[in-house]
């Protein structure tokens, strides 16, 4: 009886993953197929669609835009996220719960609404239609993730550590540099990668506001609207691979280092 239940649950899990991942896997396979249209049996292995991407300057521009936006967004939102998380760690003040709720709000807003709002607002202040618009919008969307990750890390820190640094003659700035940041490094690295991943495959908001400076996901849609090309499969596979890599590395940082730190805290208690 019990064995049947476990088998059923396992089967269910496999089916769910299959349901999610089959289209992506199919796109991968087809991107390496020599034929123009995805038919079975497959025609043969080829990298020609990836070569085609490299030859298409609009796609290369989109890749460059995506990378530029991703790197800047990742740096800026991690910085703001760190500052917010540190404020939460260090200070108690009136209205702190409201402050934290506001800081964590953006991901709860439907992206279509976020995109529309950004479009209206950025046009009003004349910042619409370029890579910088996407950077602004993505920073707003990514900062909460950075903050959550770094806050999680700081919550594992003994609050006396910073005071101990002051007590040994470190000014607030030096204590920040020599104690807080080194302790938070796993969280910071994790936040850098995750925010980059979020920015990298974010489509809707970028589509609303990027104008002619398309990012990769926007480029994919625009290409699709014109004609169906197997280049899409190649592009999609690339975006998916990069994003999933970033997320996995980010998680590795958080969990391996985090576990070690928790072990220390338990150990010091006895």
């Amino acid at each position: 009886m019990k064995a049947t239940v476990i088998f059923g649950l396992r089967l269910y899990a496999v089916l769910v993953f299959a349901f999610i991942l089959t289209p992506i896997a199919a796109s991968f396979v087809v991107s390496l197929n020599v034929d123009r249209f995805p038919t079975l049996p497959l025609g043969g292995f080829s990298l020609k669609w990836y070569d085609a991407i490299a030859d298409d300057t609009t796609v290369v521009d989109a890749i460059f835009n995506t990378l530029l936006v991703g790197v800047i967004v990742s740096l800026v939102s991690t910085f703001i996220g760190f500052a917010t998380a540190y404020t939460d760690f260090r200070y108690r003040f009136f209205g702190k719960s409201v402050y934290l709720a506001l800081a964590l709000l953006p991901p709860t807003i439907p992206t279509v609404i976020m995109g529309l709002a950004m479009l209206v607002y950025l046009s009003a202040v004349n910042l619409w239609g370029g890579a910088h618009s996407v950077i602004i919008a993505h920073v707003v969307m990514c900062t909460p993730f950075a903050m959550a990750l770094i806050r999680l890390r700081l919550s594992q820190m003994d609050p006396d550590l910073e005071a101990a640094a002051w007590n040994l003659g470190a000014s607030q700035w030096r204590a920040m540099r020599s104690v807080i940041i080194p302790f938070a490094i796993p969280g910071i690295c994790s936040a850098l990668l995750l925010t980059m991943a979020v920015s990298f495959d974010e489509f809707i908001v970028a589509w609303f506001i990027s104008g002619f400076n398309e990012t990769l996901p926007v480029k994919i849609l625009n290409t699709l609207q014109g004609r169906v090309s197997p280049k899409i499969n190649a592009l999609g596979s690339m975006v998916f691979s990069v994003t999933i890599m970033l997320v996995i590395i980010s998680q590795t940082f958080l969990f391996t280092r985090g576990k070690k730190a928790r072990g220390f805290q338990n150990g010091s208690g006895n």
Binding site: D158, D160, L161, A163, A164, A165, W166, N167, L168, G169, A170, S171, Q172, R174, A175, S178, V179, P182, F183, K260, A261, G263, F264, Q265, G267, S268, G269, N270
Partner: protein, 365 residues
Amino acid sequence: MSAPILKVTGLEKSFGPYVAVDGIDFEVEEGEFIAIMGPSGCGKTTTLRLIAGLETPTGGEIHLRDRLMNDVSPWERDTPMVWQNLALFPFMSVFRNVEFGLKMKGVEKAERHRNVMQWLERMGLDAYADHTIDQLSGGQRQRVALARALITEPEILLLDEPLSALDAHLVIRMQSELTRLHRELGITFFYVTHSQSEAFALADRVIIMNDGKVVQVGTPKEIYRAPSNRFVAGFVGTNNIIAGTVSRRSGDVVVLDTPIGEIRAVAPSTGGVREGQAVDLVISADRVIVNQAREDGHNQLSASLVSEEFVGSLVTLYLQVEGTEEFRVQIQQRELAGIDLADNARLNVTWSPEDVLILPAEGNR
């Protein structure tokens, strides 16, 4: 004697409506080993944090040497601290932890290295310089924390219950280590603890705090033998505290009416007692004698045994005496052999009037 190294006057700290430190005064002489002792929440740790500059006083003054410290930031003070949870930097090696204070003071690298190695050697940690903190045992971490605080050669060292997380046998070892360091370095140690045994074993003078106030200051012996009020008498040692009224006085001896009968006490040298005055009597449990012939003029009670508790070579007997909830007696274990502890056995307890301390009664306690 020179000017005190630390002088605290009218020091106050409140957190909103909660008053943690309520106007305390004391002075610490150079080179003293001073302990602040009190139950949890008495304000002792807050006092220490005020001295280190980690809290800002809401009233009163702190002088280190002759310098007013109220508005000096913690990193500009020379008051290193050994933390209750040690607060060692987990991502640094032992060497880097100990080096930290010197680095912040801008000492150059070669000298830092020499200094750190010297201290590690002194603490028996030279083999562990490259270890991380979580590879060390509790006692080793303790020594790293001490080395880290002492490496800058401060004039005063603050210690916040540094031994509370250690096993009992390590506590004794670390106590002798602290005594040795204090003697060798000749600097002032300012030690916060809730443990009477630590405070009395280590300190030259003890400050006892309760409810944010200093209730007594004195050498361990003074405090142990002559608690100045009911709180200290209850907190320190094993004392029986009995309420009574002064009945009459004959010469040096005062006779008091209490629920357990008439008790004779030597009149306090500090001041007279009037007839009819309400007082608290303190009878130290280790001054009471069980089942021996009563000496002339001594007090005497008849009691029955409720339970006994062994603490090493000492035994505490919990006795039932008519008129009080509990009467405690502390005797050597070997004395126990001659005493019949059978159920319902009547015990005869006696003590000298000299061992009764008279305190003015306090209204609410």
